[in-house]
Each structure stands twice: as C-alpha cells, then as structure tokens.
Symmetry: C2
Subunit: 255 residues, 2 copies
C-alpha cells in the first residue's frame, strides 16, 4: 500500500547524475530498482517533467515505459490534476492512458461530470478525483458548506452517481486525517490515494486508523521523504531503506 | 478582443498536411499567418498537444516560439487548467512561463490559494482562473450555494484577496451570459476570457451586452469555428475569413 512519488527536480538529485544524457530517467531507474520490492505503485508528478520541456516529456515516457516493461505489476499514477470540457478531457485521457499507458490519472472536479466522464470511459483504467487535498488552500473552497455538506463531500457524493464510477479513486490528504471518518462513511469501499505523509506533516497512524477498510483501501504516497533520502552516490540504496522503513511502519496497522 | 483557440486534432486538419514532418506546427503556422490581423490572442489547448506525446510537445514549443518571434504583440494563453500544491504549481508555472514563454495560463481553483499564488509570483505574466465554465458539468459544483453565494462567486471574491491578484483574469463561459452581470458586479475591471461562443452555442450579443466594461475587458475565444472552417487546401484562407467575420460582428458592440 506504499506509493512512491517521482517528483524529480534537477536541483535536488545527486550531482554525479547531471553529466549523463538523461539524468531524470537515470535517477528514476535507480530509485525504482531499489524500491520496487517495498511499494505497489509509482506516481510521477507531471509538473516536474513539463518544467523541463521536450526533454522532460521524453524522460517521463522512458520512466513509464521502464516501469511497465520491468515491473508490470506496479500500479502507475500520472499525478496530473487534469480536467476540462469533454472533448479536451478526452484528449488528456488519450495522452495519459494511450500514449503514455499509465494505469490511472489524478483529475480535478471543478468542471463537473462531463469533464471527468471521458476519463471514466477507459474501463481498464482508474480515475483519481481530488476530494480533500493536503495543502492549506484546501480550506478556501473544499470546506465551504452548502445544505449540511462541505464541498468536498458533495464532490465525493455526486461523483459516485457518474457513469463507470466504480473506476473512481479519490485523493484525500493525510493532513486531514480526522475527516477520513467522514470520507469513509460516504465511500466505504473506494481506494484512496493519500498524499501528505512525511514532508507535509500527515500522521501515518491517524491515516491508517481512520482510513483502512479491513486490510486495504489505502495507497499512501511518499515522495521527497523517500527519493531524496540521500543526495550522494548512495541515493538509491538510502531510498530503498526509507521505503522499507515506511512499508514496515504501515504493516503494523494491518491485521 | 478576438482570441483564437489552437485545438489541433490530426483527424480534423486537411489531409495534405499529414505528409509533412510536423503537420501540427504547419497547420498552426498557416492559421496564425492568415488570422493574426483579426485577433489579439492565441490559445493553444494543451491537451491536444499532450495527446501526441513528445511529438506534440515539440509542435507546441515550435508554435509558441513562432508566435513570440513573428507576432510579439499577440497575447498567448496556455489553456492548461493546471493547479496543485505549492511546489508543484511552481513547476507548472516554470514550464509554461519560462520554458515555453506563454504570457498566461488557465488554472483551476479547487485547491485554493497556495495552488494559485506560485503562478501569480510571475509579475509580468497573467493567471486566468476558472470562474464559471461553459460546459454542462458547471452545474454540478459551481452553482452550489453557501451563505447566499454560488461557489463560482466565492472563487471570484476570494481570489481577489490573494497576493498579486491584479494579475488575475477569469474564465467565464459564454453559455452562462446571463451570469455575466453577477460577475461584473464582483469584478468590474477584470479581463475575462470567454469560451463557448460558436460550437458550444454561446451568444455573442449577450456576452457583449453583459460583459463589456466600456469598450474592452473581454477576450472572446473561438476555436473549432475558425480553425476548421474548411478541411481543404484553402483552410487558412477560410479561417482568415471566419476570423474577420467574427471580429466585425464584435466591433458592432464596441463604440
């Protein structure tokens, strides 16, 4: 249930990689090889690739191809926060599900049903809708109340009525662990992607306490805490150790 | 005040372009040359480039470079609907404002203040926030009422309190023209980007009636209605004619 976020920043990766042809991919490959035994998913954060233009997009393609070829059992998430009118969402779905062959993508809900359904049309793929996010700005709109519901509750409830909603998963921030109870009332069985453990300050114990359904149902993401565990030549080995530590910490809360 | 949307779909462009090395760019170049006298802005829809992977990203880069080099007075909009936690939004801002050198980008509001402010830090750039969108799914959440405000009103009002909010523009769909009065009460001077005239059914007359502030303040977008005016060899000429027609129709509402 550990997901590792691949947020590759050239300012943060070990300096000895920068002389290589494709340092972003080489960093990812080493991290993936060292951590794959301890996680079940990888989540490249698309912004970090787009920031490097064509070079970044090529590194993203090589990274997802590497995971799909070498570790086909890993679940892959394009953390892209897309969403637009229907014909445009259909193009985003094509980009991430067909061209790049990710298993899933994160999608923003503001534009409603017809902005999300084109993603849901891909029946062997998953669409991960933003429910409650881990950042401070979540307070601005997600907690606005109408009738007796918060906006994020409306998003969860309404989206469950959409076509192919069984393929929906949801983002729920670890920093909002006390609301996981509310989320679980609305979505007893849905898979939740939980960012915000670690660098953003979320508590693993609380997330597991309120979010687990039986022994499963949570995909807990860690990015910077794992991939930047060391900035030296031993970066991959240290990332593997951190991933193992986090996986062990999680396993205490299962059973 | 006409903005032309560059939503390039290889299934819709003239067949004779498909034999060229970079048909997406060649199509855009011809459209831009033929229409630039009648518009003040171009808006590539990023999904349509991402759908073609590395090849699409290269065509996007060539397109924005071409506009910036040949027609530097044109205002450029990356229609990308991005938005994420702070450090990720900063990477998206870097991608579109630095690497690609767009003048502006469209951004989704669901994640609140700290997801938008990294874009606003670029003081010579504009951030175009989704207010009220033109699609049917806008009804799902944007019209939820809390206190006496719709969600979209809260988004407009709250965002005006953010740092560097003078660089904000807003998306307001043409299909919601009757709400433009409400929008103009909250944002008397802001520039509005209005999609949805044409293919989506919005009325130019109503948009101008309710949205104009003095002689300005609106950027009205047309995409498919202009760029796919013809699917033959005369596609650029016909696009120029359509752009001129729309510009003339708009000028009736300006004194």
């Amino acid at each position: 249930m550990l997901c590792i976020g691949l947020d590759v920043d050239l300012d943060k990766i070990p300096k000895h990689l920068l002389v290589l042809d494709d340092p972003i991919f080489e960093f990812n490959k080493a991290i993936i090889d060292a951590t794959q035994a301890y996680c079940i998913a990888y989540k490249p954060n698309i912004a970090f690739y787009e920031a490097y233009g064509v070079k970044g997009w090529k590194a993203l393609k090589r990274t997802i191809d590497y995971i799909n070829d070498e570790y086909p059992d890993q679940f892959t998430i394009a953390d892209a926060k897309r969403g637009d009118i229907g014909n445009t969402s259909a193009m985003y779905a094509k980009a991430f599900f067909e061209d790049l062959n990710f298993d899933s993508i994160t999608v923003a809900p503001y534009m409603g049903k017809d902005s999300v359904e084109p993603f849901l049309e891909f029946e062997d793929k998953h669409t991960i809708l933003l429910g409650l996010t881990s950042n401070s700005g979540a307070e601005d709109f997600q907690f606005l109340k109408s009738d007796s519901d918060f906006l994020f509750e409306k998003v969860l409830r309404t989206s469950q009525t959409w076509k192919n909603s069984r393929q929906l998963m949801y983002v729920v921030g670890a920093t909002k662990a006390d609301y996981l109870k509310t989320v679980r009332k609305l979505l007893p069985d849905s898979f939740l992607l939980i960012p915000g453990v670690g660098a953003q300050g979320g508590s693993l114990e609380e997330v597991c306490k309120f979010g687990l359904t039986g022994d499963y149902g949570l995909l807990i993401n860690s990015s910077r805490g794992i991939i930047y565990a060391s900035h030296q030549e031993d970066f991959a080995e240290k990332a593997g150790q951190k991933a193992l530590d986090l996986q062990s910490a999680m396993s205490k809360y299962i059973n």
